[in-house]
Symmetry: C2
Subunit: 250 residues, 2 copies
DNA sequence: CGACCATTTGAGCAGGGTCAAATCAGGTGG
DNA sequence: CCACCTGATTTGACCCTGCTCAAATGGTCG
Protein backbone atom coordinates (compact mmCIF):
# COMPACT_ATOMS: atom_id res chain seq x y z
CA UNK A 1 0.00 0.00 0.00
CA UNK A 2 2.55 2.50 1.23
CA UNK A 3 5.16 0.84 -0.92
CA UNK A 4 3.05 1.27 -3.99
CA UNK A 5 3.20 5.01 -3.61
CA UNK A 6 6.95 5.00 -3.89
CA UNK A 7 8.35 6.00 -7.21
CA UNK A 8 10.99 3.77 -8.67
CA UNK A 9 13.99 3.58 -6.42
CA UNK A 10 16.59 1.83 -8.43
CA UNK A 11 17.89 2.49 -11.85
CA UNK A 12 19.75 0.15 -14.06
CA UNK A 13 22.87 1.52 -15.62
CA UNK A 14 25.05 -0.01 -18.28
CA UNK A 15 28.61 1.18 -17.99
CA UNK A 16 30.63 2.06 -21.05
CA UNK A 17 32.46 -1.23 -20.90
CA UNK A 18 29.16 -3.06 -21.08
CA UNK A 19 28.98 -3.98 -17.39
CA UNK A 20 25.56 -3.37 -15.94
CA UNK A 21 24.91 -2.38 -12.34
CA UNK A 22 22.02 -1.05 -10.33
CA UNK A 23 22.11 2.42 -8.91
CA UNK A 24 19.65 3.80 -6.42
CA UNK A 25 18.26 6.88 -8.04
CA UNK A 26 16.60 8.27 -4.95
CA UNK A 27 19.67 9.42 -3.18
CA UNK A 28 20.82 12.95 -3.71
CA UNK A 29 24.18 11.90 -4.98
CA UNK A 30 23.00 9.92 -7.88
CA UNK A 31 20.49 12.54 -8.90
CA UNK A 32 22.92 15.38 -8.57
CA UNK A 33 25.76 13.45 -10.11
CA UNK A 34 23.65 12.28 -12.98
CA UNK A 35 22.44 15.79 -13.62
CA UNK A 36 26.01 17.02 -13.50
CA UNK A 37 26.71 14.68 -16.37
CA UNK A 38 28.98 12.39 -14.42
CA UNK A 39 30.08 9.55 -16.61
CA UNK A 40 29.01 6.00 -16.02
CA UNK A 41 32.38 4.74 -14.90
CA UNK A 42 32.42 7.37 -12.15
CA UNK A 43 28.90 6.49 -11.14
CA UNK A 44 30.06 2.95 -10.74
CA UNK A 45 32.98 4.06 -8.59
CA UNK A 46 30.54 5.94 -6.43
CA UNK A 47 28.27 2.94 -6.31
CA UNK A 48 31.14 0.80 -5.10
CA UNK A 49 31.45 2.64 -1.84
CA UNK A 50 27.78 2.70 -0.98
CA UNK A 51 26.60 0.60 1.89
CA UNK A 52 22.90 -0.03 1.98
CA UNK A 53 21.43 0.22 5.46
CA UNK A 54 18.10 -0.83 6.79
CA UNK A 55 15.28 -1.21 6.90
CA UNK A 56 15.23 0.64 10.20
CA UNK A 57 11.97 0.98 12.08
CA UNK A 58 10.32 3.91 13.75
CA UNK A 59 12.40 4.85 16.78
CA UNK A 60 15.64 3.25 15.55
CA UNK A 61 18.64 5.54 15.56
CA UNK A 62 20.70 6.07 12.43
CA UNK A 63 23.41 7.64 14.56
CA UNK A 64 23.62 9.33 17.94
CA UNK A 65 25.13 12.58 19.09
CA UNK A 66 28.70 11.87 20.13
CA UNK A 67 29.18 8.86 17.89
CA UNK A 68 32.42 9.13 15.96
CA UNK A 69 31.76 10.62 12.55
CA UNK A 70 32.52 8.20 9.78
CA UNK A 71 29.85 8.49 7.17
CA UNK A 72 27.13 10.59 5.66
CA UNK A 73 23.96 8.96 4.48
CA UNK A 74 21.28 9.52 1.89
CA UNK A 75 17.72 8.60 2.76
CA UNK A 76 16.27 6.12 0.26
CA UNK A 77 12.87 5.63 1.85
CA UNK A 78 11.08 6.90 4.92
CA UNK A 79 11.70 9.95 7.05
CA UNK A 80 14.63 10.67 9.34
CA UNK A 81 14.46 13.26 12.08
CA UNK A 82 17.64 14.93 13.31
CA UNK A 83 17.67 16.58 16.72
CA UNK A 84 19.81 17.49 19.67
CA UNK A 85 19.16 17.27 23.39
CA UNK A 86 20.68 20.25 25.13
CA UNK A 87 22.17 20.41 28.60
CA UNK A 88 18.80 21.34 30.05
CA UNK A 89 17.30 18.22 28.53
CA UNK A 90 15.32 20.14 25.95
CA UNK A 91 15.03 18.62 22.50
CA UNK A 92 15.70 20.72 19.41
CA UNK A 93 14.52 19.27 16.13
CA UNK A 94 16.97 20.25 13.40
CA UNK A 95 15.23 18.78 10.41
CA UNK A 96 13.18 16.11 8.73
CA UNK A 97 14.90 14.27 5.94
CA UNK A 98 12.93 12.77 3.10
CA UNK A 99 13.97 10.29 0.43
CA UNK A 100 16.82 11.70 -1.59
CA UNK A 101 18.14 13.93 1.14
CA UNK A 102 21.50 13.65 2.87
CA UNK A 103 22.17 13.59 6.59
CA UNK A 104 25.35 13.91 8.59
CA UNK A 105 26.83 16.87 6.75
CA UNK A 106 26.93 18.96 9.90
CA UNK A 107 29.24 16.37 11.43
CA UNK A 108 32.09 17.00 9.01
CA UNK A 109 33.37 19.81 11.17
CA UNK A 110 34.30 17.94 14.33
CA UNK A 111 34.95 14.27 14.56
CA UNK A 112 31.63 13.34 16.15
CA UNK A 113 28.00 13.67 15.12
CA UNK A 114 26.57 16.81 16.71
CA UNK A 115 23.03 15.46 16.71
CA UNK A 116 20.89 12.34 16.86
CA UNK A 117 19.21 10.93 13.77
CA UNK A 118 16.18 8.76 14.28
CA UNK A 119 13.81 6.96 11.93
CA UNK A 120 10.21 8.20 12.06
CA UNK A 121 8.92 5.29 10.02
CA UNK A 122 10.47 2.48 8.03
CA UNK A 123 13.72 3.84 6.67
CA UNK A 124 16.37 2.61 4.29
CA UNK A 125 19.58 4.48 3.65
CA UNK A 126 22.68 4.60 1.51
CA UNK A 127 25.71 5.05 3.71
CA UNK A 128 28.87 6.65 2.33
CA UNK A 129 32.13 6.49 4.26
CA UNK A 130 33.17 10.11 4.41
CA UNK A 131 36.92 9.60 4.09
CA UNK A 132 36.33 7.44 1.06
CA UNK A 133 33.84 9.74 -0.59
CA UNK A 134 36.17 12.72 -0.04
CA UNK A 135 38.92 10.80 -1.66
CA UNK A 136 36.71 9.97 -4.59
CA UNK A 137 35.60 13.58 -4.75
CA UNK A 138 39.17 14.62 -5.33
CA UNK A 139 39.14 12.51 -8.50
CA UNK A 140 35.62 13.41 -9.61
CA UNK A 141 35.04 17.15 -9.89
CA UNK A 142 31.31 16.56 -10.30
CA UNK A 143 31.13 14.75 -7.00
CA UNK A 144 33.14 17.37 -5.19
CA UNK A 145 30.85 20.01 -6.58
CA UNK A 146 27.80 18.01 -5.53
CA UNK A 147 29.10 17.78 -1.98
CA UNK A 148 29.88 21.49 -1.86
CA UNK A 149 26.39 22.25 -3.09
CA UNK A 150 24.68 19.96 -0.63
CA UNK A 151 26.56 21.61 2.21
CA UNK A 152 25.91 25.08 0.89
CA UNK A 153 22.21 24.40 0.50
CA UNK A 154 21.90 23.32 4.11
CA UNK A 155 23.38 26.63 5.23
CA UNK A 156 20.69 28.46 3.30
CA UNK A 157 17.92 26.27 4.68
CA UNK A 158 19.04 26.76 8.26
CA UNK A 159 19.35 30.51 7.76
CA UNK A 160 15.79 30.84 6.55
CA UNK A 161 14.46 28.91 9.50
CA UNK A 162 16.43 31.20 11.78
CA UNK A 163 14.48 34.23 10.60
CA UNK A 164 11.78 35.82 12.73
CA UNK A 165 8.67 34.53 11.06
CA UNK A 166 5.16 34.33 12.44
CA UNK A 167 3.50 31.05 13.32
CA UNK A 168 1.38 31.28 10.15
CA UNK A 169 4.36 31.93 7.92
CA UNK A 170 6.29 29.05 9.45
CA UNK A 171 3.44 26.60 9.20
CA UNK A 172 2.59 27.52 5.61
CA UNK A 173 6.22 27.36 4.54
CA UNK A 174 6.61 24.02 6.28
CA UNK A 175 3.67 22.47 4.45
CA UNK A 176 4.69 23.86 1.09
CA UNK A 177 8.28 22.85 1.70
CA UNK A 178 7.26 19.27 2.37
CA UNK A 179 5.01 19.33 -0.65
CA UNK A 180 7.77 20.53 -2.95
CA UNK A 181 10.33 18.12 -1.64
CA UNK A 182 7.93 15.21 -1.96
CA UNK A 183 6.93 16.32 -5.44
CA UNK A 184 10.59 16.46 -6.44
CA UNK A 185 10.80 12.74 -5.61
CA UNK A 186 7.70 11.82 -7.54
CA UNK A 187 5.15 11.86 -4.72
CA UNK A 188 1.95 13.83 -4.77
CA UNK A 189 2.45 17.51 -4.07
CA UNK A 190 -1.15 17.98 -3.05
CA UNK A 191 -1.87 15.10 -0.76
CA UNK A 192 0.54 13.51 1.68
CA UNK A 193 1.07 12.05 5.12
CA UNK A 194 2.87 13.82 7.92
CA UNK A 195 5.29 11.23 9.19
CA UNK A 196 6.04 13.25 12.31
CA UNK A 197 3.83 14.13 15.26
CA UNK A 198 2.57 17.59 16.13
CA UNK A 199 5.12 17.93 18.89
CA UNK A 200 7.97 17.36 16.43
CA UNK A 201 6.55 19.83 13.95
CA UNK A 202 6.12 22.37 16.71
CA UNK A 203 9.63 21.87 17.98
CA UNK A 204 11.08 22.14 14.49
CA UNK A 205 9.18 25.37 13.81
CA UNK A 206 9.96 26.74 17.29
CA UNK A 207 6.28 26.83 18.24
CA UNK A 208 4.20 25.16 20.92
CA UNK A 209 2.32 22.00 19.90
CA UNK A 210 -0.90 23.78 20.78
CA UNK A 211 -0.05 26.55 18.35
CA UNK A 212 0.58 24.06 15.56
CA UNK A 213 -2.78 22.53 16.26
CA UNK A 214 -4.56 25.88 16.24
CA UNK A 215 -2.88 27.16 13.10
CA UNK A 216 -3.66 23.96 11.21
CA UNK A 217 -7.26 24.21 12.29
CA UNK A 218 -7.50 27.82 11.17
CA UNK A 219 -5.90 27.00 7.83
CA UNK A 220 -8.55 24.36 7.40
CA UNK A 221 -11.38 26.71 8.41
CA UNK A 222 -10.05 29.21 5.88
CA UNK A 223 -10.10 26.57 3.17
CA UNK A 224 -6.35 26.49 2.64
CA UNK A 225 -5.86 22.86 3.56
CA UNK A 226 -7.68 19.83 4.78
CA UNK A 227 -6.19 17.91 7.71
CA UNK A 228 -7.25 14.66 9.22
CA UNK A 229 -4.95 13.24 11.78
CA UNK A 230 -1.62 13.04 9.94
CA UNK A 231 -3.10 13.24 6.48
CA UNK A 232 -2.85 16.60 4.73
CA UNK A 233 -4.33 17.93 1.53
CA UNK A 234 -3.25 21.30 0.19
CA UNK A 235 -6.53 22.71 -1.08
CA UNK A 236 -5.21 26.13 -2.06
CA UNK A 237 -1.43 25.94 -2.44
CA UNK A 238 -1.26 29.38 -3.98
CA UNK A 239 -3.06 30.95 -1.03
CA UNK A 240 -0.72 29.03 1.24
CA UNK A 241 2.20 30.49 -0.65
CA UNK A 242 0.80 33.94 -0.04
CA UNK A 243 0.70 33.19 3.68
CA UNK A 244 4.25 31.86 3.68
CA UNK A 245 5.19 35.11 2.00
CA UNK A 246 8.81 36.10 2.04
CA UNK A 247 9.82 32.95 3.85
CA UNK A 248 9.58 30.96 0.63
CA UNK A 249 9.71 33.49 -2.15
CA UNK A 250 12.90 35.24 -1.20
CA UNK B 1 45.18 53.44 17.10
CA UNK B 2 42.79 50.86 15.77
CA UNK B 3 45.52 49.42 13.61
CA UNK B 4 47.76 48.93 16.58
CA UNK B 5 45.26 46.56 18.11
CA UNK B 6 45.50 44.21 15.17
CA UNK B 7 47.58 41.16 15.63
CA UNK B 8 50.09 40.33 12.95
CA UNK B 9 48.36 39.77 9.65
CA UNK B 10 51.03 38.43 7.39
CA UNK B 11 53.43 35.62 7.85
CA UNK B 12 56.60 35.02 5.98
CA UNK B 13 57.08 31.55 4.64
CA UNK B 14 60.10 30.01 3.05
CA UNK B 15 59.19 27.30 0.61
CA UNK B 16 61.15 24.09 0.39
CA UNK B 17 62.93 25.26 -2.70
CA UNK B 18 64.16 28.31 -0.86
CA UNK B 19 61.68 30.77 -2.34
CA UNK B 20 60.17 33.05 0.25
CA UNK B 21 56.67 34.47 0.03
CA UNK B 22 54.25 36.25 2.30
CA UNK B 23 51.08 34.59 3.38
CA UNK B 24 48.23 36.31 5.17
CA UNK B 25 47.75 34.36 8.32
CA UNK B 26 44.42 35.89 9.26
CA UNK B 27 42.30 34.13 6.75
CA UNK B 28 40.65 30.89 7.70
CA UNK B 29 42.27 29.00 4.88
CA UNK B 30 45.79 29.62 5.87
CA UNK B 31 45.09 28.92 9.53
CA UNK B 32 43.15 25.80 8.81
CA UNK B 33 45.53 24.65 6.12
CA UNK B 34 48.56 25.31 8.28
CA UNK B 35 47.01 23.41 11.14
CA UNK B 36 46.20 20.55 8.82
CA UNK B 37 49.88 20.36 8.11
CA UNK B 38 49.67 21.42 4.51
CA UNK B 39 53.12 21.60 2.99
CA UNK B 40 54.73 24.82 1.96
CA UNK B 41 54.52 24.22 -1.76
CA UNK B 42 50.77 23.76 -1.46
CA UNK B 43 50.46 26.88 0.61
CA UNK B 44 52.21 28.72 -2.16
CA UNK B 45 49.80 27.31 -4.74
CA UNK B 46 46.95 28.54 -2.60
CA UNK B 47 48.62 31.88 -2.23
CA UNK B 48 48.92 32.17 -5.99
CA UNK B 49 45.19 32.33 -6.51
CA UNK B 50 44.44 34.85 -3.79
CA UNK B 51 43.36 38.28 -4.85
CA UNK B 52 43.67 40.91 -2.16
CA UNK B 53 40.72 43.27 -2.05
CA UNK B 54 40.26 46.56 -0.31
CA UNK B 55 40.40 48.50 1.75
CA UNK B 56 36.65 48.89 1.55
CA UNK B 57 34.94 51.47 3.71
CA UNK B 58 31.85 51.33 5.88
CA UNK B 59 28.86 50.95 3.60
CA UNK B 60 30.76 49.50 0.64
CA UNK B 61 29.41 46.25 -0.71
CA UNK B 62 31.62 43.20 -1.05
CA UNK B 63 28.97 41.59 -3.23
CA UNK B 64 25.25 41.96 -3.73
CA UNK B 65 22.40 39.51 -3.81
CA UNK B 66 21.95 38.38 -7.40
CA UNK B 67 25.54 39.00 -8.44
CA UNK B 68 26.94 36.00 -10.30
CA UNK B 69 28.83 33.79 -7.88
CA UNK B 70 32.49 33.61 -8.70
CA UNK B 71 34.42 33.74 -5.50
CA UNK B 72 34.42 33.24 -1.78
CA UNK B 73 36.36 35.61 0.41
CA UNK B 74 38.14 35.57 3.74
CA UNK B 75 37.98 38.69 5.88
CA UNK B 76 41.46 39.96 6.74
CA UNK B 77 40.48 43.04 8.72
CA UNK B 78 37.26 44.75 9.70
CA UNK B 79 33.73 43.38 9.93
CA UNK B 80 31.46 42.29 7.11
CA UNK B 81 27.70 42.00 7.55
CA UNK B 82 25.72 39.62 5.36
CA UNK B 83 22.00 40.15 4.95
CA UNK B 84 19.06 39.71 2.63
CA UNK B 85 16.20 42.02 1.79
CA UNK B 86 13.02 40.00 1.37
CA UNK B 87 10.11 40.69 -0.95
CA UNK B 88 8.41 42.72 1.73
CA UNK B 89 11.46 44.93 1.98
CA UNK B 90 12.43 43.59 5.39
CA UNK B 91 16.11 43.12 6.09
CA UNK B 92 17.39 39.87 7.60
CA UNK B 93 20.90 39.96 8.99
CA UNK B 94 22.53 36.58 8.41
CA UNK B 95 25.81 37.15 10.13
CA UNK B 96 28.75 39.29 11.10
CA UNK B 97 32.08 38.14 9.77
CA UNK B 98 35.27 38.93 11.62
CA UNK B 99 38.88 38.67 10.53
CA UNK B 100 39.68 35.10 9.57
CA UNK B 101 36.15 34.17 8.63
CA UNK B 102 34.91 33.21 5.19
CA UNK B 103 31.93 34.64 3.34
CA UNK B 104 30.11 33.53 0.23
CA UNK B 105 29.86 29.83 1.09
CA UNK B 106 26.07 29.92 0.93
CA UNK B 107 26.37 30.97 -2.72
CA UNK B 108 27.95 27.73 -3.88
CA UNK B 109 24.55 26.17 -4.32
CA UNK B 110 23.10 28.35 -7.04
CA UNK B 111 25.04 30.51 -9.42
CA UNK B 112 24.32 33.80 -7.70
CA UNK B 113 24.95 35.23 -4.25
CA UNK B 114 21.83 34.77 -2.13
CA UNK B 115 22.65 37.74 0.08
CA UNK B 116 24.35 41.11 0.27
CA UNK B 117 27.69 41.53 2.01
CA UNK B 118 28.56 44.98 3.26
CA UNK B 119 31.53 46.42 5.13
CA UNK B 120 30.70 47.80 8.57
CA UNK B 121 34.07 49.47 8.95
CA UNK B 122 37.33 49.45 7.03
CA UNK B 123 37.62 46.01 5.52
CA UNK B 124 40.26 44.12 3.60
CA UNK B 125 39.67 40.71 2.10
CA UNK B 126 41.33 37.80 0.39
CA UNK B 127 39.28 36.78 -2.60
CA UNK B 128 39.43 33.21 -3.92
CA UNK B 129 37.97 32.33 -7.30
CA UNK B 130 35.70 29.41 -6.48
CA UNK B 131 36.25 27.39 -9.62
CA UNK B 132 40.00 27.73 -9.13
CA UNK B 133 39.98 26.89 -5.45
CA UNK B 134 37.79 23.84 -6.12
CA UNK B 135 40.22 22.70 -8.72
CA UNK B 136 43.08 23.16 -6.30
CA UNK B 137 41.07 21.38 -3.59
CA UNK B 138 40.94 18.32 -5.81
CA UNK B 139 44.74 18.22 -5.69
CA UNK B 140 45.13 19.16 -2.04
CA UNK B 141 43.17 16.91 0.31
CA UNK B 142 43.85 19.29 3.19
CA UNK B 143 42.25 22.17 1.34
CA UNK B 144 39.23 20.13 0.33
CA UNK B 145 38.81 19.07 3.93
CA UNK B 146 39.14 22.68 5.07
CA UNK B 147 36.40 23.76 2.70
CA UNK B 148 34.12 20.92 3.79
CA UNK B 149 34.67 21.88 7.39
CA UNK B 150 34.02 25.56 6.85
CA UNK B 151 30.75 24.73 5.13
CA UNK B 152 29.79 22.21 7.75
CA UNK B 153 30.51 24.63 10.58
CA UNK B 154 28.21 27.25 9.07
CA UNK B 155 25.36 24.75 9.07
CA UNK B 156 25.87 24.21 12.78
CA UNK B 157 26.05 27.93 13.50
CA UNK B 158 22.85 28.66 11.61
CA UNK B 159 21.06 25.77 13.33
CA UNK B 160 21.86 27.08 16.77
CA UNK B 161 20.62 30.55 15.93
CA UNK B 162 17.42 28.97 14.65
CA UNK B 163 16.59 27.57 18.07
CA UNK B 164 13.96 29.13 20.29
CA UNK B 165 16.09 31.00 22.77
CA UNK B 166 15.10 33.85 25.03
CA UNK B 167 16.32 37.38 24.50
CA UNK B 168 18.76 36.97 27.40
CA UNK B 169 20.18 33.74 26.06
CA UNK B 170 20.61 35.20 22.61
CA UNK B 171 22.27 38.36 23.82
CA UNK B 172 24.64 36.57 26.17
CA UNK B 173 25.58 34.03 23.52
CA UNK B 174 26.13 36.81 21.02
CA UNK B 175 28.53 38.69 23.27
CA UNK B 176 30.42 35.58 24.27
CA UNK B 177 30.51 34.41 20.67
CA UNK B 178 32.08 37.67 19.56
CA UNK B 179 34.49 37.52 22.45
CA UNK B 180 35.62 34.01 21.59
CA UNK B 181 35.97 34.71 17.91
CA UNK B 182 37.96 37.86 18.56
CA UNK B 183 40.13 36.06 21.07
CA UNK B 184 40.83 33.35 18.52
CA UNK B 185 42.34 36.05 16.30
CA UNK B 186 44.45 37.55 19.01
CA UNK B 187 42.16 40.36 20.12
CA UNK B 188 41.07 40.93 23.68
CA UNK B 189 38.33 38.57 24.80
CA UNK B 190 37.26 40.86 27.59
CA UNK B 191 37.08 44.26 26.01
CA UNK B 192 36.03 45.05 22.47
CA UNK B 193 34.10 47.33 20.16
CA UNK B 194 30.78 46.45 18.60
CA UNK B 195 31.27 47.34 14.99
CA UNK B 196 27.55 47.07 14.28
CA UNK B 197 24.65 49.19 15.49
CA UNK B 198 21.94 48.08 17.88
CA UNK B 199 19.49 47.68 15.02
CA UNK B 200 21.81 45.22 13.29
CA UNK B 201 22.37 43.24 16.46
CA UNK B 202 18.64 43.16 17.08
CA UNK B 203 17.90 42.03 13.55
CA UNK B 204 20.56 39.33 13.72
CA UNK B 205 19.23 38.01 17.02
CA UNK B 206 15.61 38.30 15.88
CA UNK B 207 14.80 40.86 18.57
CA UNK B 208 13.60 44.45 18.53
CA UNK B 209 16.29 47.13 18.90
CA UNK B 210 14.57 48.28 22.07
CA UNK B 211 14.91 44.80 23.51
CA UNK B 212 18.62 44.74 22.77
CA UNK B 213 18.97 48.05 24.52
CA UNK B 214 17.04 46.90 27.55
CA UNK B 215 18.82 43.58 27.88
CA UNK B 216 22.23 45.23 27.62
CA UNK B 217 21.22 47.70 30.28
CA UNK B 218 20.00 44.96 32.57
CA UNK B 219 23.17 42.94 32.02
CA UNK B 220 25.08 46.04 33.06
CA UNK B 221 22.90 46.63 36.12
CA UNK B 222 23.47 43.03 37.10
CA UNK B 223 27.21 43.48 36.81
CA UNK B 224 27.68 41.07 33.92
CA UNK B 225 29.05 43.58 31.48
CA UNK B 226 29.86 47.23 31.08
CA UNK B 227 28.61 49.00 27.96
CA UNK B 228 29.29 52.47 26.75
CA UNK B 229 28.04 53.28 23.34
CA UNK B 230 29.64 50.57 21.18
CA UNK B 231 32.31 49.66 23.67
CA UNK B 232 31.77 46.48 25.64
CA UNK B 233 33.57 44.94 28.57
CA UNK B 234 32.68 41.48 29.77
CA UNK B 235 32.90 41.88 33.53
CA UNK B 236 31.68 38.41 34.44
CA UNK B 237 32.10 36.13 31.43
CA UNK B 238 31.31 33.05 33.46
CA UNK B 239 28.01 34.47 34.66
CA UNK B 240 27.29 35.45 31.07
CA UNK B 241 27.96 31.87 30.05
CA UNK B 242 25.44 30.72 32.63
CA UNK B 243 22.88 33.05 31.08
CA UNK B 244 23.65 31.84 27.55
CA UNK B 245 23.08 28.36 28.94
CA UNK B 246 22.47 25.61 26.47
CA UNK B 247 22.84 27.95 23.52
CA UNK B 248 26.61 27.84 23.89
CA UNK B 249 27.36 24.76 25.93
CA UNK B 250 25.56 22.21 23.85
C1' DC C 1 24.56 76.24 18.41
C1' DG C 2 21.44 73.31 16.00
C1' DA C 3 20.30 69.40 13.01
C1' DC C 4 20.56 64.64 12.67
C1' DC C 5 20.93 60.03 13.81
C1' DA C 6 21.42 56.31 17.03
C1' DT C 7 20.06 54.80 21.31
C1' DT C 8 17.36 54.72 25.40
C1' DT C 9 13.20 54.85 28.06
C1' DG C 10 8.26 54.45 28.96
C1' DA C 11 3.55 52.67 28.35
C1' DG C 12 0.49 49.58 26.43
C1' DC C 13 -0.54 45.62 23.61
C1' DA C 14 -0.62 40.94 21.48
C1' DG C 15 1.23 36.77 19.56
C1' DG C 16 2.14 32.82 21.15
C1' DG C 17 3.35 30.10 25.39
C1' DT C 18 1.71 27.57 29.55
C1' DC C 19 -1.30 24.83 32.14
C1' DA C 20 -5.19 21.98 32.56
C1' DA C 21 -8.93 19.48 30.92
C1' DA C 22 -11.53 17.31 27.16
C1' DT C 23 -11.49 14.45 23.05
C1' DC C 24 -10.25 10.96 20.07
C1' DA C 25 -7.84 7.12 17.54
C1' DG C 26 -5.85 2.88 17.98
C1' DG C 27 -4.54 -1.10 20.46
C1' DT C 28 -5.92 -4.77 24.13
C1' DG C 29 -8.31 -7.96 26.57
C1' DG C 30 -12.57 -9.92 27.76
C1' DC D 1 -18.03 -6.84 19.30
C1' DC D 2 -17.37 -3.78 22.96
C1' DA D 3 -15.37 -1.63 27.19
C1' DC D 4 -11.15 0.14 28.53
C1' DC D 5 -6.52 2.02 28.50
C1' DT D 6 -2.91 4.88 26.54
C1' DG D 7 -0.84 8.44 24.25
C1' DA D 8 -1.53 12.01 20.86
C1' DT D 9 -4.13 15.95 19.69
C1' DT D 10 -7.38 19.55 20.47
C1' DT D 11 -9.60 23.14 22.99
C1' DG D 12 -10.13 26.70 26.48
C1' DA D 13 -8.50 30.22 29.72
C1' DC D 14 -5.01 32.94 31.18
C1' DC D 15 -0.43 35.02 31.27
C1' DC D 16 4.20 36.69 29.90
C1' DT D 17 7.88 37.88 26.92
C1' DG D 18 9.04 40.74 23.75
C1' DC D 19 6.99 44.01 20.12
C1' DT D 20 5.04 48.54 18.86
C1' DC D 21 4.58 53.24 19.08
C1' DA D 22 6.02 57.50 20.82
C1' DA D 23 8.83 60.56 23.11
C1' DA D 24 13.19 61.74 25.46
C1' DT D 25 18.16 61.72 25.52
C1' DG D 26 22.64 62.22 23.89
C1' DG D 27 26.62 62.10 20.86
C1' DT D 28 28.52 63.93 16.43
C1' DC D 29 29.43 66.96 12.94
C1' DG D 30 28.75 70.94 10.25
Amino acid sequence: MREAEFPQIDKSIVADDGDAFTFCSTCAFSRACLSQGMDKASLRDLHMLVEHVGPLHAGDHVFRAGDPFEAIAAVRAGTVKTYTIDRDGREHVLGFHLPGEVIGLDAIDGDRYPCDAIALDTVTLCRFSFPRISMLAARLPGLQQTLFKLLSRDIGTASVLAGDWSADERMAAFLLGLSRRLAARGFSARHFQLTMGRADIANYLRLAPETVSRVLKRFQDEGLIRVDRREVELVAPDALLAVAGAMLRD
